[in-house]
Amino acid sequence: MTKLFPNVDWNIMLTATKETLYMTIISIIATFVLGLILGLLLFLTGKDGLLENKLSNTFLAAFINIFRSIPFMILIILLIPFTTIIVGSMLGSNAALPALIVGAAPFFARMVEIGLREIDKGVIEAAKAMGASTITIILKVLIPEALPAILSGITVTTIAIVGYTAMAGVIGGGGLGNLAYMEGYQRGNNDVTFVATVIILIIVFVIQIFGDIFTRKIDKRG
C-alpha cells in the first residue's frame, strides 16, 4: 500500500472520510425535514391544492428557484456572514453545514413536489369524500403515496450533497474534498487525490444501491 500510494497518510484519510460522512449525514437529515416541508407547502398551496394560496405559492416557488439556481461555490461565499453567526467559524465541517442545507433543501423540495403531483387527484378526492382532514390527507395519503418518489429524490439529493461537501472542502470545509485539494492538488500528490476520489465514489455507489433497493421495495404500484 505504501509503495502504491507513498504520500497517503491513512489516518488522515480516515478522519477526512469521517468528516465527509458527518457533513453528509447531518445535512441530509436537515435537508430531508426542510425539503419535505417546503415541498409539501409548495404542493398544497399550488393550483387546486388543499391550501391553495397564490401569493404564498409564488413566494415559495421564487425562494426555491433562487436558491436552487445559485451555483454552490457562490452560495458558500454568500453565506459566510450567516455561517459565522450561526456556527461561530467559517472553517471545519460544521461551517459547511449551513451552505450544504441551504443548497440542497430547495433541490429536494422540488423533487418532493414533483412526486406529490404524480399522485392521482382521485385518491386525494376519495380521502376528502371519506371525511379526512387536511392533516390526515398529508400524513396518510400524500406522504405514503409519494414515498417512492421521495426516497429516490433523497438518494439523488444525498449524492449531490456528497459532491457539495467536496466543494465545501476546497474553501476550508474539511473532509475528503479538502484533503484532495490541500494535500493532493496543492502539493502535487496525485495518489492522495486518487484515493480520496475512489472513497467518494464508493460512498456514492453505496448510497445509490441502498436508495434503489429501498425505493423498489416500497413501490407497490406494480
Binding site: V123, A127, A129, M130, G131, T136, K220
Partner: protein, 337 residues
C-alpha cells in the same frame, strides 16, 4: 332522504361562465336506487359531487336526512361525509396500502379503535367476496376486484347513502354485471340509499328504481325506470332507451319495407306482468288468424319486464281487427307499422 332544492352550479371558465347544473330540484327516497343518466358534460357528475360537498352549489340547498350539506361548516361536513360512502370510476385506492389497509382507512379517519377497525374491515372483505386477498396490493387486483375494495371501503363507516360515480364505466360487461348485483344486494340487505350516475342505460335498467335524465345541466325527464323505458318523452331519453333495445328500430324499418304489401305488420308493446302470459297463442286460437313473429325483444328491469314484438297478422280483415281489439283489452299496445 336526499333533497336537492333548486340547485345550480356555475363555474367561471376561461371562456366565460359555465352553467354545469341549472336549477335542479329532486328528492331521492330512503332505500331506493336512484340513477342519473346523461352524456358527459350533462352536469350529473357535478350534481353527484355536491351531495357530499366535494362541490358547493352556487345556488340552492342540499339536505340529507334534514342536514344541510351545502351549508355545513368544514368540520361538520367531514363528520357528515363519513356517513356518505362514495365509489369512483377509477376506484381511487391507495396503492401503498393492501386491500385490508385500504378498507381500514375510512375507519382510521372516523377514529374507530384498532381492534374494532380490523374486525369491521374483515367483515367487509367477506361482504364483497374478497376473502384471501386481504394482503394483496391494488396493483395485483383486477378492475372488478378493485371496485369491490372501493365498495367495501365506502361501506366501512356504515353510511346511509352510497354515491356511485360512473362506478362500472371502466369495467367490462361481465364484471359490470357482477358489481351491479353486489350493489343491489347491498341496497336490499343493508337498506342503503344508492345514488348513481352513468351514461349507460344498461346500468339504469339493471338496478335502478327511478331515473333522472340530464341534459345541459337540467333534469329533462324523471320517473320510474319502467315508465321511462316504456314511454320515453324526450329525444335524449329515447336515445338512451335505444341503447338497451339495440338496433331494433332499424330492423323494424327494414322488415316493414319487405312486408308492407299486406299492411298487417303490427308492433305489440307489452308491459310488466303481461309478458309472461300467452296472449299471442290465445289470439291465434280465438280468431282463426296466423301470427308470424318478425322480431322481438323483452327487456328485464329491476321492477319487471317489458318488451315489444313485431308481428305480421295474416287472416280475414275482420278476424285481424278482432284479434287487435282482444289484445288491446289485455293491455297490450298495438301499433300499425
Amino acid at each position: 332522504m336526499i333533497e336537492i332544492q333548486q340547485v345550480s352550479k356555475t363555474y367561471n371558465g376561461k371562456n366565460g361562465q359555465v352553467h354545469a347544473v341549472k336549477n335542479v330540484s329532486l328528492t331521492v327516497r330512503k332505500g331506493e336506487i336512484f340513477g342519473m343518466i346523461g352524456y358527459s358534460g350533462a352536469g350529473k357528475s357535478t350534481l353527484l359531487r355536491m351531495l357530499n360537498g366535494l362541490e358547493t352549489p352556487t345556488d340552492g340547498e342540499i339536505l340529507i336526512d334534514g342536514v344541510s350539506i351545502s351549508k355545513s361548516k368544514a368540520s361538520q361536513l367531514r363528520k357528515e361525509r363519513q356517513k356518505i360512502g362514495m365509489i369512483f370510476q377509477h376506484f381511487n385506492l391507495l396503492w401503498s396500502r393492501t386491500v385490508l389497509e385500504n378498507i381500514l382507512f375510512p375507519l382510521e379517519i372516523a377514529g374507530v379503535p384498532k381492534k374494532q377497525r380490523v374486525e369491521r374491515a374483515k367483515e367487509l372483505v367477506r361482504l364483497v367476496g374478497l376473502e384471501g386477498r386481504e394482503s394483496a396490493y391494488p396493483s395485483e387486483l383486477s378492475g372488478g376486484q378493485k371496485q369491490r375494495v372501493g365498495i367495501a371501503r365506502a361501506l366501512a363507516n356504515k353510511p346511509k347513502v352510497l354515491l356511485c360515480d360512473e362506478a362500472t364505466s371502466a369495467l367490462d360487461p361481465e364484471t359490470t354485471d357482477s358489481i351491479l348485483s353486489l350493489l343491489t344486494e347491498i341496497n336490499r340487505e343493508l337498506g342503503i340509499t344508492i345514488v348513481l350516475i352513468t351514461h349507460e342505460m344498461h346500468v339504469i335498467q339493471k338496478i335502478c328504481q327511478r331515473v333522472a335524465v340530464m341534459e345541459n345541466g337540467e333534469v329533462v325527464e324523471l320517473g320510474e325506470v319502467l315508465e321511462v323505458f316504456t314511454n320515453p318523452k324526450q329525444d335524449i331519453t329515447k336515445k338512451f332507451v335505444k341503447q338497451v333495445k339495440g338496433t331494433e328500430d332499424l330492423f323494424i324499418t327494414e322488415l316493414t319495407h319487405d312486408t308492407s304489401s299486406n299492411g298487417n305488420t303490427k308492433k305489440l308493446t307489452f308491459t310488466q306482468s303481461h309478458v309472461q302470459q300467452p296472449h299471442i297463442s290465445e289470439a291465434v286460437k280465438l280468431f282463426d288468424i296466423e301470427i308470424n313473429i318478425l322480431n322481438g325483444k323483452i327487456v328485464q328491469t329491476s321492477e319487471g319486464s317489458y318488451g315489444t314484438l313485431l308481428v305480421q297478422m295474416i287472416g280475414k280483415t275482420e278476424n285481424v281487427e278482432n284479434a287487435v281489439s282482444y289484445l288491446q283489452t289485455q293491455q297490450v299496445e298495438v301499433e300499425v307499422v
